[in-house]
């Protein structure tokens, strides 16, 4: 035993004999292994540049102290670690690069690895078709700080995106953020201590299920924003998630849209189109468990003729709600309290499901959304409801849940090639 260790030390070949990890093989043969150490930065970046389609670049166990962002522009490459608590890419001393890892190539997989303390976003994948994040952790280890990077797991303008078994923690914008993308699954993941836990933005055909989102400022957001190339997101299913106690103070730097999300938001839909929310367990979110609003409620200027700022075709069914609504915060919390004060005595307990009352004038008939587009709410136990009539200065605030006893056709399941 003893002599074997001595040989290892002499050979400086930790990968060869210093650990008992299983061998790593990919379609192109042995994985390209990177060990922690002073030259890991250069070796990792060279490996990413020289990689070929099908290569697996394996970061072995340990903490990699990286000072520059890594980037990958070769299709079909996998970045793999030895487990998201065993292989840690630490960017605590990062001096350059706006993200930890930037990927601009198709058919990318990252798995079993952690990316910590990047100055900007943790893992950004831009413009790729085929993206998998599997058992990957993005974290800022000092907890919620406005100086933390914006996004943890961050595919943008991508297609066919799978995020599963992953963790995002501490992002000053969104832990798991999918922007301007199509065909997306986010499942069995955990987001905590972010401003937004999971955010689906300007994205179509997204399934978000089996996730836990807690201790964020807001749990799960489905937003459409103006001024972007992918202007409109349609069809998002949020189901079978646990969304509770999102009670972290909003620590987003002002000027970011999520800075408007009040502490204690469970699910928020803003300018969402065809959003089906079902089978979730939503509780103890102090401002509101589930809010449906228009972008207009934010009172922000925009100039984008193609943008539809209104939510429509929202279907909320078979969820379990409990607690929450007892500590409305922020601008939206203020607005909710103001509106409800017109019809109920203090102290206000915010209903589980709240709409701001903006109605898309292009869809409206007689000032109301017709059956095909209205908000439908069914089978949510004893969940209560309010519509605030913000556009008319709360002139007709309504608690009439029965008016929303309707259904929409179930949205189709998102199916990604090679994943089920």
């Amino acid at each position: 035993m003893k002599s074997r260790y001595a040989v290892c030390a002499l050979a400086l070949a930790a990968a060869a004999c210093g650990n008992s990890e299983p061998p790593c093989e990919g379609p192109n043969g042995p994985c390209i292994e990177i060990d922690p150490g002073p030259d890991a930065q250069t070796r990792a970046q060279e490996a990413l540049i020289n990689a070929m389609d099908g290569d697996i670049i394996l970061f072995n166990k340990g903490t990699f102290d990286l000072t520059l962002g890594l980037s990958l522009d070769v299709a079909g490459v996998t970045i793999r670690g030895r487990g998201m608590d065993k292989t840690i890419l630490s960017f605590k001393n990062q001096t350059d690069g706006a993200e930890g890892i930037l990927v601009t190539a198709d058919n990318f997989t990252i798995e079993e690895i952690a990316v910590e303390d990047t100055v900007g976003d943790a893992i950004k994948v831009e413009g790729a078709d085929g993206v998998t994040f599997r058992r990957t952790r993005a974290e800022w280890t000092d907890g919620p700080q406005s100086s933390n990077g914006g996004y943890g797991l961050y595919p943008v303008q991508c297609q066919h995106v799978l995020i599963e078994g992953s963790v995002a923690r501490g992002a000053s914008d969104s832990g798991i953020y999918v922007g301007q993308s199509q065909y997306v699954i986010v499942r069995d993941s955990r987001a905590d201590n972010n401003v937004a836990g999971i955010e689906i933005e300007n994205t179509s055909d997204a399934d978000v299920h089996g996730n836990t989102s807690t201790n964020n400022t807001g749990g799960i957001l489905v937003f459409n924003l103006p001024g972007l190339q992918r202007e409109r997101g349609d069809r998002c299913r949020i189901f079978d998630n646990d969304i509770y106690d999102n009670s972290t103070d909003n620590f987003a730097p002002a000027g970011n849209i999520v800075g408007n999300v009040p502490r204690g938001t469970g699910i928020a839909v803003m300018a969402g189109h065809s959003v089906e929310i079902f089978g979730n367990r939503i509780r103890d979110n102090g401002t509101v468990n589930l809010g449906i609003i228009s972008y207009l409620t934010l009172m922000l200027d925009y100039s984008d003729a193609n943008y539809d700022p209104y939510s429509d075709t929202i279907y909320i069914h078979d969820n379990t709600f409990s607690g929450g609504g007892d500590q409305p915060m922020g601008g939206l919390g203020f607005l909710v309290v103001q509106a409800l004060t017109t019809i109920m005595p203090a102290p206000i307990l915010v209903p589980d499901i709240v709409e701001d009352g903006y109605v898309d004038p292009e869809l409206a008939v007689g000032g109301q959304l017709p059956a095909d587009y209205k908000t439908c709410i069914q089978n949510n136990g004893d969940a209560d409801y309010a519509s605030l009539d913000v556009p008319n200065d709360y002139a007709s605030v309504s608690l009439d849940l029965a008016a929303h006893d309707c259904s929409h056709p179930a949205l189709p399941e998102v199916v990604l090639p090679g994943s089920n």
Partner: protein, 386 residues
């Protein structure tokens, strides 16, 4: 120290000169050459071959004293009206076209360059910027090569003794000091971008790497090629290296020189500065397309170039501000906040800058301050009161 550097460089050079006969890469010697060398004295460049490990090998420059950057035949220098700011580095630019090859003029987009074309840009710091003819040190030379399957960027990092530059696909970091034009001592931790990062700037269409500089509006200007000032478009055309350009350069677009108010208004100079410093990413096909902010000088819709536009994914880059540009109010404009920062989480551009371009920031501040004031508030339709 000095001896060691010279020795290392000498070894590097001898490897570069002697590697041709070995018949392929020598895995045991990282300095061994891997690219073929052509006979004769002309440029030795084969767009289908592996990249050379040493810059001298290509003979783009007359190689007896590489550091003078003395151009070989068919390697023609040019300059830009308003250049990209790169930590105050001085740059020299060349285009190489093989015998008989030409590039094709375009009014707005980059000229169309043939396969086999190479654009070379060398980044250098003089010891003292007040003495342009004094000692100067090259840091890196970037090659942008038009291969048969598209453009490829390659960074070459110069040796300490300036005898040659070595291919360094992973980039490099180097601490640089110089005496600035105002006489002050300046320092920067200069970062040579890695090969992948080429695409982060040189991607003006989605997934297509390409040149940025050779556009009419940037290179429509004079340069002294040895016989007094001469228009660059005319010079390239006279050499037979450019076709389709207007006979009179006055008929071609021409961007302002950002720091020369004889060349344009504040608006023209600011838009020229934003175009070259930002629009390589902030255009509808560039890496920053996801932000919706388009900073090309050709973009005329105010919202699209940032007027009262909210950011999308700014994170800490918002600086607590709401809008990219608040007309009349540079202090509340995210654009100014980000170009005036050196925090990697905040600064723009994200790459290639580690100190603030003070003159550029001053120009952008002046530009925004001169706009008719608008606080950018209420939304357009259905204003709500509360």
């Amino acid at each position: 120290m000095r001896v060691g550097a010279v020795l290392a460089a000498a070894l590097g050079l001898s490897a570069a000169c002697g590697g041709g006969g070995s018949g392929g890469p020598d895995a045991g010697d990282p300095n061994a050459e891997v690219c073929p060398v052509a006979a004769g004295d002309g440029v030795s460049f084969d767009p289908a071959a592996d990249p050379c490990r040493w810059l001298s090998r290509y003979r783009f420059f007359v190689s007896t004293d590489l550091a003078t950057l003395t151009a070989n035949d068919r390697v023609v220098p040019y300059d830009l009206n308003t250049p990209l700011f790169s930590d105050y580095a001085w740059k020299s630019r060349f285009i190489y076209l093989a015998d008989g090859q030409t590039m094709t003029y375009d009014d707005t987009d980059s000229f169309s360059l043939p396969e086999g074309a190479v654009i070379l840009k060398t980044f250098s710091y003089p010891d003292d910027m007040r003495q342009p003819d004094g000692p100067i040190r090259h840091i890196e030379t970037r090659l942008l090569i038009h291969r048969n399957d598209g453009w490829e960027g390659l960074p070459y990092v110069w040796n300490d003794d300036q005898a040659d530059a070595r291919l360094s696909v992973a980039g490099a970091q180097e601490h640089i000091s110089w005496i600035h034009s105002d006489g002050s001592q300046r320092d920067v931790d200069y970062v040579v971008p890695n090969k992948n990062q080429c695409k982060q700037c040189h991607e003006e269409a989605v997934d297509v790497l390409g040149p940025i500089g050779p556009k009419a509006r940037h290179i429509n200007r004079d340069l002294d090629y040895g016989a007094g000032p001469e228009n660059q478009l005319t010079h390239f055309a006279d050499l037979g290296m450019l076709t389709g350009a207007p006979a009179d350069p006055a008929d071609a677009p021409r961007d302002a020189v950002f720091d020369d108010d004889a060349t344009g208004t504040v608006d023209q100079r600011a838009r020229a500065w934003l175009d070259i410093n930002c629009a390589h990413c902030h255009n509808p096909g560039g890496a920053a397309r996801v932000s919706g902010l388009d900073l090309r000088s050709a973009q005329t819709t105010p919202y699209d170039f940032g007027i009262c536009k909210t950011p999308v994914a700014a994170g800490p880059g918002s600086g607590g501000l709401q809008y990219d540009i608040v007309p009349g109010d540079p202090d509340h404009s995210i654009l100014v906040y980000r170009i005036d920062s050196t925090d990697p989480a905040v600064m723009m551009p994200e790459l290639g800058r580690h100190v603030v371009h003070e003159e550029g920031v001053a120009l952008i501040r002046d530009w925004i301050a001169a706009m008719p004031a608008d606080p950018c508030l209420a939304p357009a339709p259905a204003p709500a009161t509360r």
